[in-house]
Symmetry: C2
Subunit: 308 residues, 2 copies
């Protein structure tokens, strides 16, 4: 294991670019993305770029995958000019995307045919923490693969939890995390919409309840952004896109179905995020789900005296 | 305002008895309950008892109502031998039960016909905190009524939030609190049931996720009790009965309907608590909802290889 492994980063999106930039300050990094401006930002940070995933991976000891979903994972690795064309046996792919346990297992099996190891390592924490090595990473990997990936994982993570020895184990815990996070955001939206409907001041409600038995990380974090939605003309800054939860609650309900575990609240939350996507909120902050339940411009029908 | 008002307590249940016992150490307390053993416990703590609500209220400056639901409130105040028969004009009723804003407003209007003031003051915190003056109390009351009730409220509350001047305002905030609490418990149950279905260790999952973006007060509090359900032969100690959430999620979805605010997650949680009640769990700890989603004795159908 080299202490400064040559690392290919594929995908310079909201998470990939800050991770690659942070790594480039410590390691040789070669990146691929479809966006020339994103590649230019990495070059400024000291990285080099490549025209295809295969070119990015050609001299790499490690490949960090930071793409959106399983289809992009498949394209990046096994598509035309995919990284699998050039990866040498004994190298390691770090899968940071949230794709679900089955997809991680399938990916690992296909890479194994090339003699390539897989570290299942979905990340949490958002873009700001991604750029400062402050991510939560949950890992499923055998010891050998984990040891090879350590130099990169240790640069990116402030908390690293090894869930189990198999690719997919990290995805399973990440799915549980997303179940709770997605339900808690939707619950915060219901609480704030109902507060508004009852004529309470939403900001006071958030402040009164955030530290007690009703509190959650998401109520304290997204609650004030939901309140801001009603107080300001412009929508809140996009810190976490709504359509991430369309994808992730799809993973959650899919694996729950496969495990024959009923998840009625996660299913209701999934429908809410799908409604948000249909309402044009896919690229908005996920806190915007509150506007589905209590539209920004209007008082509730009850307040207007309708339907009584 | 007398600094040591004579206080009648009606209802010596899980919350009423510790509240009455705590008050009896500081004030003259006369209590009514249908249970002779509960009355005896109060007598031991220095209180006196009465055979009917009317007798308990006869010499009272304040009446603290700590009964279960609106029907018991109506019986205690306006039924045969109800407190309204003896309450003098200018006295004050403190309504600590969670009954919803409409019921609090109706009760206040009926008491006003007797010249009696109402302080809407639903409480949170559980029996242990009720016995040590450490409750969270959310109040809807006009200034005059609040001032009269202060000696009792200050003995019971470590945090007192005055939501607004009208009875019902406290109930509105309490309903928002219960929406979040009830949804968060159900979400914790889904998370732990799914973890089990995926073959993860539920205790490790709770420990890994409780401090992060997936965390909630209820996940940290009820999560370990849900884990305990699977580890022990006997059910966890009943700290909060499941049927409290059957009642309170009924209030939440009722007022949300009246306000024309969709609450799909609260509705799903309500159905889960109703299923729990039907399954014989009404008097069990609310953490027992997890056993609906992942039965204690059996592996999931998927783990047994069925349906594949």
């Amino acid at each position: 294991m080299t202490p400064r492994p040559h690392t290919a980063v594929i995908g310079l999106g909201a998470m990939g670019l800050p991770m690659a930039t942070h790594l480039a300050a410590h390691l040789p990094v070669t990146a691929y993305d479809i966006s020339a401006p994103r590649l230019a930002q990495l070059t400024e940070a000291g990285g080099t770029t490549a025209p295809t995933p295969a070119d990015a991976a050609r001299h790499a000891d490690l490949v960090l995958l930071a793409v959106r979903d399983q289809q992009q994972v498949d394209n990046a690795l096994f598509g035309e000019h995919g990284a699998a064309e050039t990866l040498r046996p004994g190298t390691t792919v770090i899968l940071t995307s949230t794709v679900g346990p089955d997809a991680a297992r399938t990916t690992a099996a296909r890479l194994a045919e090339h003699g390539v190891l897989t570290v299942d390592a979905p990340v949490s924490g958002g873009p700001v923490r991604a750029g400062s090595g402050d991510l939560l990473i949950v890992v499923g990997a055998e010891d050998k693969a984990l040891a090879l990936a350590r130099p990169v994982l240790d640069l990116l993570a402030s908390t690293l939890t090894v869930v189990g020895p198999r690719p997919g184990d990290g995805q399973s815990l990440k799915a549980i995390n997303q179940l709770l996070a997605g339900v808690h955001i939707a619950a915060a939206a219901e609480a704030i919409a109902l507060a508004r409907g009852l004529g309470l001041d939403p900001a006071t409600v958030v402040e009164s309840l955030r530290h007690g038995a009703a509190g959650s990380f998401m109520f304290a974090d997204r609650g004030p952004r939901m309140v801001e939605t009603y107080e300001n003309e412009t929508a809140p800054e996009v810190k976490s896109r709504l359509d991430i939860f369309v994808k992730d609650m799809g993973i959650v309900t899919g694996i729950a179905k496969d495990a024959h575990v009923p998840v009625p609240l996660a299913s209701a939350a999934q429908q809410l995020y799908l409604l948000g996507e249909r309402a044009g909120l896919a690229a908005h902050d996920d806190s915007s789900v509150v506007t589905l339940l209590s539209p920004k411009s209007a008082a509730s029908p009850a307040q207007k005296g309708e339907g009584r």
